[in-house]
Subunit: 354 residues, 5 copies
């Protein structure tokens, strides 16, 4: 989650519906994969020309077009022209810092959500925008870069496993959303492991590094939350089935998906609570250690300052200091000193400072 906010300045002043790509360019050239299927047939192709999918527009079979890479705006324009998508939809697909939302355009639904990925190298969560358009017999999905999120869905269509080939385009969209939310659980597992590791570290050996880790986790949870909370509304609105594009039979699966979303949110909130608790404990253990350090200092100072003072007294050069002449003056002083030291120690022992 490199940048806090994406540069939109290039767009300011343009009329709404202007197609400008906002965000990092993550792939060199967009990749288009077309799958067309019904219960009986299955056809798949990887292409670089969006026009290839136009032939399926009027056919009753279900067509799923997935596009990885968004910077080539002409591609989107062609698509929009052919299928009659509203310019605002195309604009939102290109602005890759949308918050998850669903919009009903009558003939088609437009869904935006964010896929999350744990980048092992940078040790941080990366977030990409995924846009989905659901029509009567087609589904378009747009990703910022190539990913393997949808591979399992593709495989299910190919093999015809489960219900996916028997049901409509709305079920396909459920499958896509489901695979994204499934991925969230993977991210949560990773986070959970790191939080548990942190908790152990807190008990055994808290360091300044711990503080940095806490901060990092907090930051990631803020972003995770931002991606996950609006999703609830999106799936909830799909489930309530306000659009005729969602069939009754799919709704039960969307309810299941909704439960998963709630579970994700629940876990994110639990993690936030735990991180807050860990920070509290960290801070108080820092205070505790300060206390320990100060006690050591005080004990040392309280024991040796009076003794050094006594030694200083008998290092004075006054002419008339009778004690200096005493035969047992020196051992006596040692006695006094040892007695003072020991009684101090007992005092501190009783005060539980040692």
């Amino acid at each position: 989650m490199a940048n806090l906010i994406k540069k939109r300045s290039r767009k300011s002043g343009l009329p709404p519906g202007s197609l400008v790509h906002i965000g990092e360019r993550k792939v060199r050239t967009p990749k288009i994969s077309i799958i067309d299927y019904d219960e009986a047939k299955f056809w798949e192709e990887r292409s670089k020309k969006i026009e290839e999918c136009f032939v399926f527009k009027e056919r009753p079979t279900i067509t799923w077009v997935n596009i990885d890479g968004l910077h080539q705006t002409s591609l989107l324009e062609a698509l929009g022209d052919c299928y009659g998508f509203h310019p605002l939809v195309l604009e939102d697909i290109l602005n890759t810092d949308q918050r998850p939302k669903i919009e009903d355009y009558g003939d088609y639904l437009y869904i935006v959500l964010r896929s999350l990925e744990y980048n092992e190298r940078k040790k941080e969560i990366e977030s990409d925008q995924i846009s989905i358009i659901l029509g009567r017999n087609f589904v378009f999905s747009f990703q910022e870069k190539e990913g393997d999120t949808f591979d399992a869905v593709r495989e299910r269509i190919r093999t015809g496993k489960g219900r996916i080939r028997k049901m409509g385009a709305d079920y396909l969209v459920h499958a896509l959303l489901d695979s994204i939310v499934d991925n969230y659980f993977f991210i949560l597992e990773k986070l959970g492991e790191r939080i548990e590791f942190l908790e152990e570290q807190l008990v055994t050996q808290p360091t300044t590094e711990t503080l940095r880790t806490i901060h990092g986790l907090k930051r990631e949870l803020i972003f995770l939350r931002k991606a996950v909370w609006p999703l609830r509304e999106v799936v909830g609105s799909l489930e309530r089935g306000e659009s005729p594009l969602i069939q009754e039979s799919t709704r039960i699966y969307l309810r299941d998906l909704y439960d998963h979303t709630i579970q994700v949110i629940d876990n994110v909130e639990t993690f936030r609570d735990m991180i807050a608790g860990i920070l509290d404990i960290y801070l108080s253990s820092v205070s505790n250690r300060l206390n320990t350090v100060m006690k050591v200092l005080t004990v040392i100072a309280t024991i040796f300052m009076p003794l050094t003072f006594l030694a200083g007294i008998y290092g004075m050069n006054f002419k008339f200091m009778p004690e200096l002449e005493w035969r047992w003056g020196y051992p006596l002083l040692w006695g006094v000193m040892v007695a003072t030291g020991i009684s101090m120690m007992i005092y501190f022992k009783k005060k539980k400072w040692l």
Copy 2:
């Protein structure tokens, strides 16, 4: 509450409705107990074959089947086939990290909730998922492991005490839920005792251990809350009686159960407030002790540093130091020193540092 989050990775990519057990395997082999009763008759059996309960499907008597141990998915599949349960229900029974919820499938209600148990040995609360399916004349309950939570209900059915034999399957479900919520009160009592012990400790002798206990209690309350809050919605939805499976006469009992749930939530929130207060007090008492330590150090240093300085002065070897030759130089210096020390003490006394 060992793990923060259960591994779902084994499931990712599978189509919804795939039966995979998620969670720890807590018993060796599933145990099935079948109870069939109406006001006049009572029949009970422990079995290992789920098929034995199928004969009761069409009979008007009430059948309660309790299954301990979930990892044997074939058992669930057989059950689902016979009674026509939706695959998503079976899937949810197996995924043992559900949050409490209720789902209405028309012919039957599916309820998930969590039973809590205080593990005396590990000194922590353990949480198991309990799934309940309520049909017109049957109740299925699924537990992760054998427990004695439902023993009292079984006994009430056997002896025919109370209304349980006279009322329907919905009342049986109420009895099951009630015994689970009753258990929560037991957990709360335990927690309450530990919090009170903590409060006493805070006054008498706060140690670093106290901090760890606070953290532990906080953590347990986070999880307790996660289990209890959604329960309110579940019981509330049952009570509002939106399903024809819930009879009017049972609703009054469900309202009672709802009150208990609210009471549990209330107590959890009170405990959270109290733990927060205890942490505040702990932190300020740590600050206070630091203050005390620092005052002792400062008093000691402020008294002995000037005195040691004076002793140092008269330990110098200058040839011409008239004081050294004075007859009463030494006693005089002692006088000055004692006067300085005492006046310092008075000053600190007045400043309430001693």
Copy 3:
């Protein structure tokens, strides 16, 4: 508010509606007081047998039966049998850790709330459960122990002052609730005085005792809040007059009572805010005092360490130390020392450390 949570373990496993007293036994033997009145007549008796009130059941006059002491369950059973109260109502009367609630059983309303009393000896607020059953022409009130909360109401009935004799049983319930809420204001006054005393103490002389008082007040407010918040819903629901037992003419008085309840809640929340503010100020004044202590230490150390070092230098026994031979060496050194000391003092003065 001795115990955080009352033991319910004795009840666990029993079917709902089992009459078991939960809570402390606060009186030796239950006391029953019966008042029967209408605009013209008035009859009062103290009795030990509940059966005496049964004669009034069918009469049109208003009967108010107050019972102090709940542990004798047979009494409640007899009452329940005669008036046909639901077992769950009787159970709730006996479980003395209910949160305030109202339940409509058609023929009668069941109201639970908590009366508060400031125990001067223990210096804490004590909370008792008061249950009220309102029927068409009767009111039953149940208290855990004898109290004088309702004395003023009794007096008003006896003397016929105000409207109470002219209006129905619902107005009597209003009078009872009103006298309980009036008592809350008394508790709030006490708390307000203690908070103001705390604020003054904070300015003049904050001690460790202050911290304990803050904690105590916080704890009491948590419990007060728990008793007061649900009351709002109870009175609000009464006022909205959903039950035919509440007459139109009484509703205006219930609205007044509702306002009082809101005012109580408002004050509790204000107190919470103030206590939070006081804790903040306490903590920062502790930090401030630490700062002051440390400044004193630093000033002393910074002045005397260099001087003691200088004295140490000229206490060395090197053979060849020319300064020692100087005629004005000693006074010169004193000069240097005094100059050093004074310039340090000026420096600290400028830094506002002195």
Copy 4:
């Protein structure tokens, strides 16, 4: 805002509707001012007898009676008898710790709100209760003490400036409410100035006094909030025009008033946020200063302790200490000492402690 809570004890036990004045007695004798007007005529009088206004009751002109001083309950009783006000209304007028509310009694509306005044001498905000009764052709306003809040309204009626003479009694109430809310802005300006002064002080020279000021402002904001939040509901309910006493043409002015109320609340919340921020900064600057102090101490101690130790070594009286005999022993030691001191300084410089 002297007392946290007003004594209600005098009232406890009395039946509702008992007229007892609760609060401080702020004027010696109540002052009554009567204004009667319509578009053409205007009549004004100051009187001490409430009966003088009774003649206007049946006239179609608009009568506004303002009463300053509430302790004379007989006055209110006479008024209530003549106009038929409900005893609860009269009781609420006398209980001067009401929270703002509006009550619809059919023939008349009863409004309570609080006027605020900044007492320059005591340097705190004072709050008085203002009650307003709006009838078809009359308005009664009750204040605890004489104030100039309504002077501008009076002037507008006298001169006939604006619409006030052309519109009904509801517009007059709007004018009264508006002048009270306008006063809030004045209070907010004062508070804003003090907060800005505090912020500057925080940057230049934070002292213990700063802490006290923060606490004082926080306290005032708590009370301000308590007075302002419920006002929103009051004005909002007026604006929604649920009562026939509010004419359509006045509603637009009430919407304007509602906006002002929201603006006041907005500012109060902003101030709360800012005070919280200022407290945070104050606390961290205290920590920072502690750090600075401790660094100075540590630097001094770290430099002079080893040097004093060295001087102590060569002050020892061992017979055989070869260094003491060396010709260049003393200058050499000075060299070592200066080198040690300088290298320490460089070390601390590098660590940014100096």
Copy 5:
């Protein structure tokens, strides 16, 4: 955002609808720009007389009048007279501390919002009030000072790019709002950069300056929030299209604008969370550094205090101190000292204090 609150005192006591300018005077003389267009024609003029726009009132073309500078109240009066605007509208235009709101006056809508600008010189965000009146065929916009916010819209009208010339006055209002909200993103980018810079600084070198920056950002976010939150309601209410002035075809664009507003709010909240996190980390790093400092002090004191004491012992002048006569006394003592020092170091090393 110089002043917390604008002086309204000049207005207090005036009847509602009095035209008094509240706020700073930001331009010398108001500038009026008139644009009149339909799909075919376009006419533009800059003028100083408001009367010039009156001719367009009855024409079917769309007229957009923008006025920069508000202090000349006569101008507004003339406008109000001609178009029949309610005095409260004109009053609100002049009171430049309104919170964003929308008001439906039947024939026209009145919208207030705030434009934000980052003042590079003062390094703070400046906020101006923008008022918009939307009629059937006209739009009036009022700004406190000249700005370039609307230049792009003007350009789009001039060139006829996009749909703006083809659609109604409501679309023009959308364009104006959109350009203001677009500006917010610019402000957010700036803030995001500063927060990221702060986070980096926190890791590398936190100073007291960091604290001031955190405070400044927090303050700006408070004000940003105040400007942005009510906007959501404004745009939401426009989008729900409760007014006939908003055409169906524009609504989709308003939904888009609503999404942007939500996104702005989302980002503001995220920034608040992050600033809170940064403050936490800053504070704990201050504590950590204090710990480090104290450890250094303690290590030094603990090593050198005992050694100095030993040296003091053998600097005493007792007649009978056998050690002083020993041949190897001096080297022996050195040995003891070095051993003590080294063992202390090892001890601290083990305790991880070094």
